[in-house]
């Protein structure tokens, strides 16, 4: 998938993967796509996987915060998964890293470590 989102069911809820660029142009339709998923599923824990994003700006921050609020209102929890280095920089600047849990899956963790030691 080059651009857009798709979801899979997990043991604890759902995992929504985002792909491509996340800017103002794409944000509104992506929000609608994600909201359609949120309303159609039993939520539980929602993992928002950011590893497929090759660009994000403040529109992405807004999307993430908006979905976080919506998921919380619907009784679920949200975590951000595998943001790349540049996405993390933005999440930290916006204070989102302090509010929403960020997790890395094992293979992404290894990649991050390798990058840091090189």
């Amino acid at each position: 998938m080059i651009q857009g989102c798709r979801y899979t069911k997990t043991a604890y809820g759902i995992c929504i993967e985002l792909h491509g660029e996340l800017d103002h142009h794409i944000a509104k339709s992506l929000c609608n796509q994600i909201d359609d998923i949120l309303y159609s599923q039993r939520l539980g824990q929602v993992v928002l996987d950011l590893s497929g994003l090759n660009f994000m700006d403040s529109a992405g921050l807004g999307l993430i915060l908006g979905r976080y609020n919506k998921i919380t209102d619907l009784g679920g929890t949200m975590v951000l998964q595998n943001p790349n280095v540049r996405t993390r920089k933005l999440l930290e600047l916006a204070g989102i890293a302090a509010r929403i849990p960020i997790v890395f899956t094992k293979e992404k963790e290894k990649k991050q470590e390798r990058k840091q030691t090189v």
Binding site: D23, H24, D57, G62
Partner: protein, 149 residues
């Protein structure tokens, strides 16, 4: 600053589909200075923020022209200007406060972080604006010496 070693100008209508193009064009131009991946990413992001501001706030859904100028200097400084001839900002200092536009018309869910990001990712940023005339955002970023990672 002295004379730039290179300069480009880009104009396009304020359609949001041009945000991606603006990012790519500016990054392609700056690539001549061999920036690091982080520097390129920072520039890509600040251009995106400034252009989106012009579209969302400057022209507010109407169509106008967005003007981008990029100058490269021998000391590896990148000078960027994003200009619109839109509605302008009444109080620039107030508008630059983080989260000022959060929830406002057009800002949608961007979160009001545009100026904060531009300031954080560049060395200098200046916003000039006149009501009814438009807004100009000038940013400068000096790239690290060549040969870094």
């Amino acid at each position: 600053m002295k004379t730039p070693i290179n300069e480009m100008q880009l104009t396009f209508p304020s359609h949001s589909c041009n945000e991606s193009y603006a990012r790519s064009a500016v990054c392609a131009f700056v690539s001549a200075l061999d920036p690091t991946l982080e520097e390129l990413s920072d520039l890509r992001t600040v251009i995106s923020e400034a252009v989106t501001n012009a579209i969302v706030h400057g022209y507010r859904g109407q169509v106008g022209i967005v003007y981008i100028t990029v100058r490269l200097y021998a000391d590896r400084t990148v000078w960027l200007r994003v200009k619109d001839c839109g509605v302008g900002i009444a109080d620039v200092a107030q508008a630059m406060q983080p989260l000022y536009t959060q929830g406002s018309e057009g800002e949608g869910e961007r979160g009001g972080m545009g100026f904060t990001i531009m300031q954080s990712f560049t060395d200098r940023m200046r916003v000039s604006s006149r009501i009814g005339k438009g807004t100009s955002v000038v940013m400068q970023k000096r790239l690290s010496a060549m040969g870094g990672t």
